[in-house]
């Protein structure tokens, strides 16, 4: 028996000569690369066209100041998008991200105002986010509440709690050492961009190189098969949702440092939807198994470019949503077509 991608001609019992014995490992590699890069290349193409259009529309678009502005606008979304990618690849979803973002900022902010040293406040803020993420996993693994509902419930609950605690008001008065971390520059580039790069690299390694990432693709690709082969799928969920909660809270804390204030309404549905959308536009499948951190970075960047570019060429920014909507639906349509092509009726 020869195991190689089956062409329709191979299926008949008479056909004893496999059509594709020429399929060499090298050629297979080329095909695979082309397939896996196709959607990313498409997205990069869209991004490039938009950049050219905006640059023609207004030459300050690609000025270093404006590029910095776009990068800075991307960073917090991208940081939240990293664990979101891991969750979507694992076949889940996290709609609580926006609320855990605010919870992180408010928790750390309140503690700092109470005089707790800022590093301790940051760690506790992340721990609270992580704990709420673990609750998300607990709801879906133990109580069998679908992740969509569990995290949506967490979104409202967490937002509600921090709004009640703060009376809906922003918190001010953080130590300068803390706010500097969100506002400083190194070599003309905001600190925030460095944080995003570090977190992006960490999550790229997690997803592509570690057994956590391999487990994620297996759990998202076929949860029953992953479980039957000894992957502890419940434990996996606890890890990824916990990690997502902690990182969303960290992003919220960075946001608080950048603005010198923590607002219970920060993040919210806008951040949640924008992050999920960026991840999906970046080629991560809503149905699990497939996805990349690089794609999510491009997806997040696309938002910043559209948002910023439309303002710069004097188009009403209300148009932004139309662009995003069309691109989102196109991305999912492409994903569906890809799955149909690869996995259709092979059983």
């Amino acid at each position: 028996m020869t195991i190689s991608p089956e062409s329709p001609a191979d299926r008949g019992p008479e056909n004893t000569v496999p059509k594709n014995t020429v399929t060499s490992a090298a050629w297979g590699w080329v095909v695979r690369q082309a397939q896996s890069r196709a959607q990313l290349a498409g997205l990069a193409g869209v991004l490039l066209v938009l950049i050219i259009v905006f640059q023609i529309g207004n030459p300050i678009f690609l000025s270093s100041g404006n590029i910095m502005e776009m990068l800075r606008a991307t960073t917090l979304y991208f940081i939240v998008a990293c664990p979101m990618t891991l969750i979507l690849v694992s076949g889940g979803i996290d709609f609580s991200a926006g609320a855990l973002f605010a919870t992180g900022g408010v928790t750390a902010g309140l503690l700092m105002v109470l005089g707790i040293p800022w590093p301790v406040a940051v760690i506790i803020g992340m721990a609270v986010g992580g704990a709420l993420g673990v609750v998300n996993a607990w709801l879906s693994v133990r109580l069998r509440v679908p992740p969509l509902i569990a995290t949506l419930g967490m979104f409202f609950t967490a937002s509600g709690i921090i709004t009640v605690i703060t009376g809906g008001n922003s918190i001010y008065g953080f130590p300068k050492a803390f706010t500097d971390l969100g506002q400083g520059f190194l070599l003309g580039i905001p600190f925030l961009v460095y944080y995003a790069v570090v977190i992006g690299v960490v999550f790229w390694i997690l997803l592509e190189k570690t057994s956590l990432g391999y487990d994620a693709r297996a759990v998202g690709g076929n949860r029953a098969a992953a479980s039957a082969n000894g992957i502890r799928v419940g434990r996996h969920d606890f890890i990824v949702y916990g990690l997502a909660g902690a990182v969303a809270a960290l992003a919220g804390i960075m946001g608080a440092a950048r603005l010198s204030s923590a607002n219970p309404a920060a993040g919210g549905t806008a951040l949640t939807f924008q992050v999920v959308t960026a991840v999906i536009i970046g080629g991560t499948s809503l149905f699990g198994g497939i996805g990349s951190i690089g794609g999510s970075a491009l997806g997040a960047l696309l938002f910043a470019v559209i948002n910023n570019g439309l303002v710069i060429i004097n188009v009403n920014s209300l148009w932004q949503n139309i662009f995003v909507g069309v691109i989102l639906v196109s991305a999912v349509a492409i994903d569906q077509a890809r799955r149909r092509r690869q996995f259709s009726s092979r059983r």
Partner: protein
């Protein structure tokens, strides 16, 4: 032809009972599997074959009875437990992840690591080696499972069970989805497993396959063991009689 070592069973089930609500799927089932032997489990639909496989593979936990591996009592409450006890299962749905490639599927749940990272290279070379041992030609271990035919997937799934280093290999309807040529190839592979000293347990409907490949046959009927026969000392008529209940085992 029996090279089987009958001194110690590789796997022994004693009085296994499994109920689903008021339905008793398995009642007082006893089973022994020996290294170097293929035990076929046959029975009509609803006889409890799948439940039995699931009890041994850790998917279901029995309500009553004991499972012994090499004379040691084990508790198999998850597929991971079964694996740890040296039992690998080739499920009928094959339990493959379509969007992942051949070598990743071969190592599902047991990814080799070098330090913190998955050792991709070792995964690829070992996958290739195991497939070569089973005389399966693989163009590329990076091929996605979704691109393969049913027979090819079956072979990959069996190869994975071998790779996991298990001493007992369970196969649930290994020939159900296969054509004639593929069935022959699967039978060869399963015979090779026996010859290499594995205890093989095969659930099958396929009498042709059972009589040409297995050494012993255990017949399930309505959740109970209707009889156990050596293939060399029985006939199809007798087995079919046990399956349908027209022939009763003398108690």
């Amino acid at each position: 032809m029996n090279a089987a070592d009958r001194s110690t069973p590789a796997l022994e089930l004693k009085n296994i009972t499994k109920r689903f609500g008021r339905v008793t799927a398995l009642e007082d089932v006893n089973l022994t599997a020996y290294s170097g032997e293929i035990l076929a489990i046959v029975g009509d639909n609803g006889a409890g074959k799948s439940t039995l496989i699931k009890a041994i593979s850790g998917v279901h936990h029995q309500d009553d009875g004991q499972i012994l591996v090499d004379d040691q009592l084990v508790s198999l409450s998850s597929p991971a437990d079964a694996r740890a006890a040296g039992i690998a299962t080739v499920f009928q749905d094959l339990a493959l992840v379509e969007c992942l490639d051949v070598s990743t599927n071969m190592f599902l749940g047991q990814f080799p690591r070098r330090g913190w990272f998955v050792d991709r290279q070792r995964m690829d070379t070992e996958s290739r080696r195991f497939l070569d041992e089973l005389k399966v030609t693989v163009a590329d271990v990076h091929t996605q499972i979704g691109m393969l035919s049913g027979g090819q997937r079956q072979i990959i799934s069996i190869a994975r069970a071998v790779r996991s280093g298990a001493h007992t290999i369970l196969l649930d309807e290994p020939t159900a989805a296969l054509g004639v040529r593929e069935t022959r190839h699967a039978a060869d592979i399963i015979s090779n497993l026996r010859d290499s000293g594995k205890a093989v347990i095969c659930v099958s409907h396929d009498m042709e396959f059972v009589f040409t490949t297995a050494d012993r046959i255990l017949v399930l009927r309505l959740g109970k063991v209707a009889g156990v026969r050596e293939v060399s000392a029985t006939t199809r008529e007798e087995i079919i009689g046990l399956i349908t209940g027209t022939k009763q085992e003398a108690a």
